[in-house]
């Protein structure tokens, strides 16, 4: 009862309704009035181009072509719109045509997508989305010609998610290119897109993608509901979205996955997930997101399974190292000296001889130094800057050791954790936060403190749900069938079922083994596979 109440509260703060009041203004038949209306609406911005021309046969009526320079494809506007309009020959037959715009649309213009609008706000929106507007004196309507075409970034591999073997294409800032990239990956009709506009100020286009027949309808419904409920001025990046529609806004751990790779999004859609595209950012969210997904990477599926399993176990190990290594080092060094093997104990003692600070302070201090350097590395230059910061950190560490301020083992542990945090990029944020908390707990209550910290995290994660699916799905509520892609990356032909909680309507992915080739089947008349 109370729990449900709390959940209501949590979503309550997203539901504040501020009614949007906007009077409906229509276009007027008088051309000049429309033009001044446009100028009022958009201000005298230099990239608003108004091209006056005369339409129709010999005297013809005054018209105007309006577009925003930079948003339209100049080539299309000049060749396919202006040229036919100004060409005398086209006007031959239709001398006394009243609906000039209709005639122009039917038989003159060579533009694919066209719309006629009467309401000013719609026209302005079209203009800002890269359409060209055709107005004619005497007609209270406007013709929106789709001439989008701004210079886009070329498709290249996202720097953050590079893989060794496999496709190297990444999403760009343009929504249409991204949807096209996904279409090329999944070329069946089942791939459905739904678009909507969000953010009063920015009118950013948001697209939901899912595979009909594979996805769970309730999930799509939930995604639509949550997106509609967002009431915000602007959306500039996928993370704005994440904090709004995530199940646990206060939680450390992201309940949506961030990726810029079409092959990853395609794989997730095939598993029955829903992808959310945001125009203007290459980052795409897929929901529901589980903790184990952060440990998967496209490489795992492009390499043989035994190698992939090994890498995956390296990732589990390195994330636990990144979070636990400094804490355990402090706990062992300050509380459980009995557990250090004797030879190591002697070397540890010689290494920490004469260092002034207690171990916990040393580790936390050096940890902060490394974090600051890492951040500097990122701001410094392109991502390779991070390696510079690690090298810088080691140099400083070395100096601290020779000066006798800090023990050498501390530097080794800190450098190790600094590197291992990069292995699982998805959990970089939580990793650093948890490491600090565990180190302090380790310094105060030793291994027992760390255990309480870990249990607190486990309980927190177990209570998390991402769009209804428990966050620790294959591990916390143990689902043996899904473990084949978590503990070990089973060979592709064995990955026959989708994750149970996500793709439950049709868990069966493909029949087991190899396809039966045609002639064989033909002979015995029936095909025993199905």
């Amino acid at each position: 009862m109370f729990e449900m109440l709390w959940r209501k509260l949590r979503l309550a703060h997203q539901r504040k309704k501020t009614p949007v009041s906007r009077s409906r203004r229509d276009l007027s038949p008088n051309l000049e009035a429309n033009l001044t209306a446009f100028q009022e609406e958009l201000g005298a911005s230099p990239d608003l181009i108004i091209r006056r021309l005369t339409l129709g046969p010999r005297p013809g009526s005054a018209g105007a072509l309006i577009y925003i320079d930079g948003l339209i494809d100049k080539q299309v506007v000049n060749q396919d719109v202006l040229l036919p309009l100004l060409n005398e020959g086209n006007w031959g037959k239709g001398q006394d045509v009243t609906d000039l715009l209709g005639y122009v649309a039917q038989s003159i213009l060579a533009v694919g997508e066209m719309q006629t609008e009467t309401e000013l706000r719609q026209v302005v929106q079209g203009l800002l989305a890269g359409d060209t507007i055709l107005l004619v004196d005497g007609q209270a309507a406007a013709l929106l010609l789709s001439t989008k075409g701004w210079d886009k970034r070329a498709i290249q591999e996202p720097e953050a998610e590079q893989i060794i073997q496999g496709p190297h294409e990444g999403f760009t800032e343009n929504l249409r290119t991204n949807t096209a990239l996904l279409r090329r990956k999944i070329a069946t009709a089942g791939l459905h897109f739904e678009e909507m506009k969000l953010g009063q100020r920015t009118q950013t286009a948001i697209a939901i993608a899912y595979l009909k027949g594979v996805v769970n309808e309730k999930l799509v419904e939930e995604v639509r509901l949550r997106l509609k409920r967002i009431n915000i001025d602007y959306i500039l990046d996928a993370n704005y979205l994440q904090e709004f529609i995530s199940d646990a806004p206060f939680s450390l751990f992201p309940t949506l996955t961030f990726t810029e790779r079409p092959d990853v999004v395609a794989a997730k859609l095939l598993e029955g997930r829903v992808a959310i595209f945001v125009d203007g950012t290459p980052v795409v969210n897929t929901v529901p997101a589980l903790l184990v997904e952060n440990f998967q990477s496209p490489d795992d599926y492009n390499f043989p399974y035994y190698y992939a399993t090994m890498i995956r176990w390296f990732r589990y190990l390195s994330f636990s190292l990144a979070v636990l290594a400094p804490a355990l080092f402090v706990a062992l060094g300050s509380y459980h000296q009995e557990l250090i093997p004797t030879p190591l104990m002697i070397t540890l003692k010689t290494a920490t001889e004469g260092t002034p600070f207690p171990l916990a302070i040393e580790v936390v201090m050096m940890g902060l130094v490394f974090e600051i350097l890492r951040e500097a590395g990122v701001r410094l230059a392109r991502p390779f800057g991070q390696t510079i910061s690690i090298v810088g950190a080691l140099v400083i560490g070395e100096a601290a050791v020779t000066a006798g301020l800090v023990g050498a083992p501390t530097i080794i542990v800190i450098a190790l954790t600094a590197i291992t945090t990069f292995v699982v990029p998805g959990l970089l944020g939580p990793g650093i936060f948890l490491r600090l908390i565990y180190t302090i707990l380790g310094g105060v209550l030793g291994a027992y403190g760390i255990l309480t910290g870990m249990l607190f995290t486990l309980l927190h994660l177990a209570s998390l749900r991402s769009f209804g699916v428990p966050y620790l799905a294959p591990l916390a509520p143990v689902i043996p069938a899904d473990l084949k892609d978590v503990l070990v990356r089973a060979p592709i032909w064995a990955l026959r079922t989708r994750p149970r909680l996500i793709g439950w309507p049709r868990p069966q992915r493909q029949p087991f083994g190899f396809a039966v080739d045609e002639e064989e089947k033909g002979e015995d008349g029936h095909d025993e596979g199905k």
């Binding site: 309550a12 009995e338 104990m345 030793g446 607190f456």
Partner: protein, 397 residues
Amino acid sequence: MTKANDAGHRRLWWKKSLWLLLLFIMVFTSGCWDRRELENIAVVLGMGLNHTPGGEGYEVSFQIVRAAQIKSPGGSSGGGEKMRPFWILRSSGPTVFEAIRNATFQSSRRLFLSHSQVLVINEAVAREGLTPALDFFIRAHEPRLSLWLLLTAEDPVQIFDASAGLEMVSSQAISDLLQQYHLTSKIRPVRLAEYVRLIMAKTTANTLPVIRTIENAGKKEFYFEGTGVIKGDKLVGFLDPIETRGLLWVLGEVQGGVITFDVPGKKGKATLEIFTSSSTVTVQVKADKIHVKIEVQVRSGLGNQTTYTDLSTPDQFKKLETRQAEVIKGEIEAALAKAREYGADIFGFGQQLYGHDNRAWQRLAADWERHFREATVEIKVKAVLVELGLTTRPVLD
């Protein structure tokens, strides 16, 4: 709706912050009592146990690692002799625990016993009964049951003072040596857990290795020699190295070592290397008389020979094997004779009976010593020679 909404919202934030506050209270209230930094603990690697000169209390000595020296051994340290990488501390008190605590009058750092490898016990303490002295080492949570127990006639400090040969600290050297016991199989290393288990089982007598110091070119070094026999809880006597190996043959713990004997019918000696050995002991009771059958299998190889004859022929091998079996039998009998002399069943015949024929054991347990002395023991040794090394015939024959 909005008003409750904001209240809910505010309370939500307040709840969240309170959990964090709780976490921090927990962090600062605990204030780390048990924290002991690496710098201010004195790592004890070896402990010695002896009576105080007066005789009634215990004197405990410690060999503590001096970390600074280990980094740059023998660094010139101004005054006094070259600083050795360890420091020997003595302290005494009515009980072992009191003695250990009194040590903190002299040591600037807390003594940390978890890493101690060896416990060297003076014979005088062993003669009076060991368990009272060992109780602290079982009961306290710092010392571990994997502690090696050693007996010595001298003051344990002498053993610690001895040069550690290749190692830095003599306790470390002793511990490493005990783990290589199978190279000679003439020492039977015993850990605290093993000693206590046998004492509690009341079926078998305990044995502890003996260590002493010898002069070698001016420097004192430690030297393992024989085993002490502990009957009940008191030291009753010693076995020499050969008898110790006799005991090990019966227990099946000989995993290495060499045997030298005169080649039958030839002038010169042969040394065989023992690879592995196993033994089965069966104890039967017939009309309250104990009959023990000991079968020992040995696999060994020809190590070297000092005769001029070719020993690599199969029948020569046969002769060597029978001769080797006789020598081993001799060793076992020597051990048996010594054990009977002390009336201490160090071979575990009692344990066999206790395990396999409990009723008989209940009957005979009362004066097991007599039964042990009068037991008829049949020893069968099967020696197999499997290897020649690299050469067949001697260089000159």
